[in-house]
């Protein structure tokens, strides 16, 4: 009898041990581990909602595999370029055309005649409105990474993040001069471009502005390459430009105010023509963390068009 009790007790103990081992091995519960060294991005991504003066009106979802460049064309038609093609949308988001080409478009501009200039890695290709090729410009260097194009009545400005320089071409692709080239003899420090974000745009009076991202500044140059003015401050705070290389993109409102976008802390903001922080268009919470390449355009009604390559969307913001 005594032996039986021992055997039964032993068996029960064995079953209990097996049970515990089984639960320990196969239970879905994972050990919770908190990170004592967490880099808390949450705090720096927070903004004061009173400073956000814009709201998202419309979202367009292009069919392109990747989207990298946006331009507002004649009649407020929105041009989106990316991998192997371009799509056109009306201001209300309805499709209005498309065409294909080979390569990944990194930047784009449209002239008064409707010619579309597309930067593809190290060279510019020109198309008409229906996608008929109208020219392929010579590559400047295999190291070139074209990141921005702007067209005036007489010239085409192209930013090259690879060579850290801006080229001024005539409308047919003949190189006129280089802007911002490093020249220790003349004490020209050159642009500081730590990553392939190097934007340029023409201001209210057609003047050339270039984002010297390594210095967190927007700089105004003459066509001859003389630096006339600059503004910008490195800071994680809302009124500065964060990270190692910002603003990554910028555009102009009709009163000459700057619309800027940043990477690191993804945010779109407006600065007065003098460079004073005015308001937020889209706070970091409007974007997926890690989004880079928020190209910008402004239409005739001062609606701000943001290209969101991460979500693959064109997002239109209007004043609240």
């Amino acid at each position: 009898m005594k032996q039986k009790i021992f055997i039964i007790a032993g068996l029960l103990l064995l079953i209990a041990v097996i049970g515990i081992m089984f639960t320990d091995l196969f239970s879905g519960k994972k050990q919770e581990q908190t990170n004592p060294y967490d880099y808390k991005m949450g705090e720096i991504r927070k903004t004061d909602s009173n400073q956000t003066a814009y709201t998202e009106l419309l979202t367009i979802k292009p069919a392109l595999v990747e989207i990298h460049a946006i331009v507002n064309g004649d009649g407020d038609r929105i041009y989106v370029a990316g991998k192997n093609g371009l799509e056109i949308y009306k201001g209300d988001g309805k499709p209005d055309g498309n065409f294909s080409f080979e390569g990944v478009a990194s930047c784009m501009a449209i002239d008064k005649r409707g010619k579309i200039f597309i930067g593809i890695q190290d060279h510019v290709e020109v198309f008409d409105q229906i996608g008929k090729p109208a020219g392929k410009w010579k590559s400047v260097s295999p190291e070139s990474i074209l990141t921005s194009i702007a067209v005036s009545n007489s010239c085409v400005y192209v930013a090259d993040a690879g060579k850290k320089i801006v080229y001024r071409y005539d409308l047919n692709g003949r190189l006129i001069n280089r802007i911002g080239e490093k020249d220790p003899q003349k004490n020209v420090p050159g642009f500081i471009i730590p990553s392939p974000y190097f934007d340029l745009a023409l201001g209210k009076k057609g003047e050339l502005w270039i984002a010297n991202t390594g210095r967190h500044s927007l700089e105004q140059f003459s066509d001859e390459g003389v630096l006339n003015s600059a503004w910008g401050e490195a800071s994680m705070a809302i009124d500065g430009f964060c990270g190692c290389c910002n603003p990554s993109h910028f555009a102009f409102l009709h009163d000459g105010s700057f619309v800027t976008s940043e990477k690191g802390i993804e945010r779109v903001k407006i600065y007065s023509p003098k460079g004073e922080f005015t308001c937020i268009v889209a706070p970091p919470s409007a974007f997926t963390e890690g989004t880079r390449g928020l190209d910008l355009a402004v239409d005739s009604k001062d609606r701000i068009i943001v290209l969101d390559p991460e979500r693959k969307q064109v997002r239109i913001f209007v004043k609240k």
Partner: protein, 222 residues
């Protein structure tokens, strides 16, 4: 009784010896047969080939642990789970990728207003990341490995705001090459992997992978 026990013991010893003999015979026979695998054995006919520890043990001698930065999410476990103290995982710097930035997201605490080397501005919990002025506006960042605990804080900051030139790597002069790496066992993103001992690094951007970043160690963009 002792006679029976002795007999059983002898039988068992004999059995084990015979089994070992058979096993080695089979191994020699198969490898002579020219059907050997890279370890010199042909495991195809063996019913226990799946659970066999031999290949893993041999592999461990030819390979080392490394972490793949494309998978790492800087969870902090590289600092807390290594059997070594401080961890054998350290921050390393791919200088060719670095922007030599003044406002370095890996060096400064978020929100730092005045960019000085004051301890309260530094993101690194052990002050292992060193900042040195090169020439306006360039700063060089180096890591004091004795102080680095592999927490990945700077790596996360650099990835978010910069080019991702600060990266975590297992340092093989410190790593014990444990058969079962206790970080690998707990890594939430399966970033740990075995790599050939003669190619132990999985660092990205050691060469001039990204045109336009011609920064040299200790130098300035050309």
């Amino acid at each position: 009784m002792p006679g029976r026990r002795e007999f059983l013991n002898t039988l068992m010893r004999g059995g084990i010896l015979a089994a070992l003999g058979l096993l080695s015979g089979a191994v020699i026979f198969r490898s002579r047969d020219g059907k050997s695998c890279s370890y010199g054995f042909d495991c195809s006919g063996c019913s226990r080939s799946k659970s066999c520890m031999l290949p893993a043990a041999l592999e461990a001698r030819q390979t080392v642990w490394q972490l793949d930065m494309t998978k790492c999410i800087q969870c902090g476990r590289c600092a807390t789970n290594c059997v070594m103290s401080p961890s054998a995982v350290k921050c390393t710097h791919a200088f060719a990728m670095c922007g030599y930035c003044d406002l370095c997201g890996g060096y400064f605490k978020p929100g730092t207003k005045i960019l000085t080397t004051a301890a309260e501005n530094q993101l690194c919990p052990t002050n292992a990341l060193k900042r040195k002025f090169i020439e306006d506006p360039f700063f060089e960042y180096t890591i004091d490995e004795e102080l680095c605990i592999g927490c990945g804080k700077c790596v996360k900051g650099c990835g978010a705001f910069g080019n991702g030139s600060l990266q975590l790597q297992v340092r093989h002069d410190r790593c014990k090459n444990c058969n079962e790496c206790s970080i690998a066992r707990n890594c939430p993103s399966q970033a740990f992997t075995r790599v050939p001992a003669n190619k132990p690094s999985l660092m990205r951007g050691l060469g001039k992978e990204r045109p336009g970043t011609a920064a040299k160690k200790g130098g300035v963009d050309a």
